[in-house]
């Protein structure tokens, strides 16, 4: 089957003027030859048939061929426009070359004319004094301006270096301040820790105090108990007293005892008197005194035997003795006797004479004595 493409196009195309196209904003119009269209269609049909697996229904054939045609048409068109572009560029370059040629020519002419002028100038030098003066003035002004600018420049650069120095100083300070604040932070955390420790200490102290308070309570209880015992003791003492009162025998014994003691004191006094007399009268006969002494001794030993017998009787009878709590003058005497009783056994076995005790020297007491005497006088 063959198609008359030209006729088909003419039959289907509409005619429009260039002006009309321009009116619609289309300045350029693509132009395609009918032979090309024909080629394109053939090509499209062939492509579709080659790609198909077998015989194709007509509709499908038409659609696919249409699409293939469009693709081929676009390809063709782009080839066309590339060609056109190249041609435009060629034309442009040609114009450029022409222009450059004419410019070169113009320059050559210029050079020639300048050469001619220079030759002429060299032969006839001309000095315009006024122009020279004004040139000098201008140059001086320029020089001054340059000097001023230089001064300004150096000032600016000095400022710049000072700014740089300040900048670096600032950096140092910033570093120091950072260091300080780090230190402050550290101290702060140390303080916090210390606070914690302190409060722990306080807590512990409070614990101690609490315990102590409890001790005090216990002590109070003990005191209360002691009071109870005390009243018990008082009661017992009262009982003892009534018992004693009901025993007139004890009382008479005590009276007797007192009498005996008095008798003894009397005898001791007499003894001392006699001793003194004996000392005074050194020539007095020895025998008298010794006989007296013998008598005295006999009497005293008798009294003391009786005394101790009666005393022990009284203790057995529950009389209690002289000292309640064992702190009477009698008890003191007994204690002293006990302390020195060991001397009777002979030498004390000890090394006390060979050892030294801690000793230190210190300031005198003259000042104290003087002050004290002064007070006494007042």
């Amino acid at each position: 089957m063959s198609i008359d493409v030209r006729r088909a196009i003419e039959k289907n195309a509409y005619v429009t003027s260039v002006a009309d196209l321009e009116k619609r904003g289309q300045r350029h119009v693509r132009v395609i030859k009918t032979s090309t269209i024909r080629e394109l269609i053939d090509q499209a049909v062939e492509n579709v048939q080659r790609n198909a697996d077998g015989p194709m229904p007509k509709d499908e054939m038409v659609a696919e061929t249409g699409q293939e045609f469009q693709r081929l048409l676009k390809e063709k068109q782009s080839q066309q426009s590339a060609l056109e572009e190249t041609q435009t560029q060629i034309a442009h370059y040609k114009a450029l070359i022409t222009d450059l040629n004419s410019r070169i020519e113009h320059q050559e002419n210029e050079i020639a004319s300048l050469r001619a002028q220079a030759t002429a100038a060299a032969s006839t030098p001309v000095v315009d004094e006024a122009e020279l003066a004004s040139e000098r003035k201008r140059s001086n002004a320029l020089e001054q301006e340059v000097a001023e600018k230089t001064a300004q420049l150096s000032e600016l650069s000095a400022k710049a270096s000072r700014a740089a120095a300040l900048e670096s100083e600032l950096a140092t300070w910033r570093a120091r301040s950072e260091e300080a604040s780090a230190r402050a932070q550290k101290l702060e955390s140390e303080r916090a820790q210390h606070d914690a420790e302190t409060s722990e200490k306080v807590n512990r102290m409070n614990e101690h105090l609490l315990r102590q308070e409890r001790d005090v309570e216990a002590a109070k209880e003990a005191v209360a108990k002691a009071d109870a015992y005390q009243s018990e003791i008082a009661k017992l003492n009262a009982e003892i007293r009534t018992m004693r009162e009901s025993q007139p025998a004890t009382e008479s014994l005590v009276a007797e005892l007192r009498q005996m003691r008095e008798g003894m004191t009397e005898l001791q006094l007499r003894n001392r008197e006699l001793e003194m007399q004996a000392a005074q009268a050194q020539s007095a006969p020895q025998a008298d005194t010794s006989r007296l002494e013998e008598l005295l001794e006999a009497k005293m030993s008798q009294i003391s035997t009786e005394l101790s017998a009666k005393l022990s009787n009284m203790r057995v009878a529950g009389g209690g003795g002289g000292a309640v709590g064992g702190t009477s003058p009698e008890d003191i005497k007994n204690t002293i006797a006990a302390i020195f009783s060991h001397d009777l056994d002979g030498e004390i076995d000890s090394n006390l004479d060979d050892v030294t005790v801690k000793e230190k020297q210190s300031g005198g007491i003259a000042g104290n004595l003087a002050r004290l005497k002064n007070l006494g006088k007042k």
Partner: protein
């Protein structure tokens, strides 16, 4: 407790009156200055005497002993080491400082003849040891009947203890040793030793092992004396209880060079707490005794408080004292609170002053 405070023998104006002439004759005719001072303490026995250099010589020994088994080896060893011992009732008794060391070695406690400032009648047996220690520190009289002033505590306001028996026994003992004994209130002795520049006007406090003794004096005359039965031993006992350690360990911690104001551990904190409590107790008592007694002198100017005694020795004691003082509204105007230069010998020195005046 007593307002007049002292016993006849120690009325200082009496002594001063008698003494002036006799002291002068003594110094012109012989080199030795007569009179001795003896501090009879729960912890220490301290004797003071004037020496040839115009100063004083102080001898001291711990008032403690321990008995150990009597055998030849121990005896030889103790003799070689010059550790004072005496054989008594067939046991060997080591006296004084060394008894503490032995107690530590044998893990025992020393025997201490006195408690809370006083001997107790039940310790009559131990008094033989006290006598031997006193003989050692005091020595023989320099002349027959040399005057010795010995310290006695004031009436305790917080116990029923009997000062009369205590005083009687020491008086008898010193007589037997050839002295003429006179007793003197312990805190009054502190006034004699430490308040001369204030004309013996102020408050003397002896902070001892068994008690604290207080004397408020006006121109050397005691206006108020008393004692409390709490001292260094009380601290030791409480610290030992609260820390669960032996008493000797508590004493050790306390006597280390610690600072009461800056305890560095649990142990030191305990010591510091009880110290504070003890000082507060004492100051509160002074205040109430002062307010409760009539006939207190009107002091024309603020007076000093001076502390002495072993218990006042640690660092920070005075600071702690001032601290506690500030908390109280004290009825007397106080100028200065200070510590004696040598706290352990102050009482003996004061007794010596009284004796020298009397001789």
């Amino acid at each position: 407790m007593s307002n007049s405070g002292d016993h006849e023998a120690m009325n200082p104006s009496d002594s001063a009156g008698v003494s002036a002439a006799s002291t002068e004759t003594a110094s012109s005719s012989q080199a030795v200055a007569l009179g001795k001072g003896l501090d009879v303490g729960t912890a220490n026995l301290v004797a003071a005497v004037q020496n040839d250099d115009g100063g004083i010589t102080v001898k001291m020994e711990r008032n403690a002993f321990i008995d150990i088994e009597h055998d030849v080896h121990s005896k030889n060893l103790l003799t070689k080491l010059k550790v004072p011992y005496v054989v008594h009732n067939n046991t060997m008794v080591v006296l004084g400082d060394e008894s503490f060391q032995l107690a530590n070695i044998f893990n025992r406690t020393t025997r201490r003849p006195m408690k809370d400032g006083l001997i107790s009648p039940s310790e009559a047996d131990a008094m033989t040891m006290v006598r031997l220690i006193i003989q050692k520190v005091l020595g023989e009289p320099q002349a027959p009947g040399e005057v010795v002033y010995f310290s006695v505590p004031g009436e305790p306001i917080d116990s029923e203890a009997n000062v009369v028996y205590h005083e009687g026994v020491f008086s008898g003992l010193l007589t037997k040793l050839g002295y003429e004994p006179r007793s003197m209130n312990e805190a009054h002795a502190v006034v004699f030793a430490e308040l001369a520049d204030q004309d013996f006007t102020g408050i003397g406090i002896s902070c001892g092992g068994g008690m604290f003794n207080v004397c408020v004096a006006f121109k050397s005359i005691p206006a108020l004396t008393f004692s409390t039965s709490r001292g260094g031993d009380w601290i030791d006992k409480n610290v030992s209880q609260v820390l669960g350690v032996p008493v000797s360990k508590a004493t050790f911690i306390k006597e280390q060079s610690m600072d009461l104001m800056n305890p560095t551990n649990r142990e030191e904190e305990a010591v510091s707490i009880y110290y504070r409590n003890l000082i507060n107790y004492t100051l509160t008592n002074i205040k109430s005794q002062f307010l409760g007694s009539s006939g207190m002198p009107e002091f024309p100017a603020p007076i000093d408080i001076v502390t002495s005694g072993g218990t006042s020795s640690p660092n920070g004691f005075i600071e702690l004292f001032r601290d506690e003082f500030k908390k109280l509204d004290f009825p007397i105007k106080i100028n200065e609170i200070r510590r004696a230069d040598d706290p352990l010998t102050s009482v003996a020195k004061g007794c010596l002053v009284a004796a020298a005046i009397a001789e």
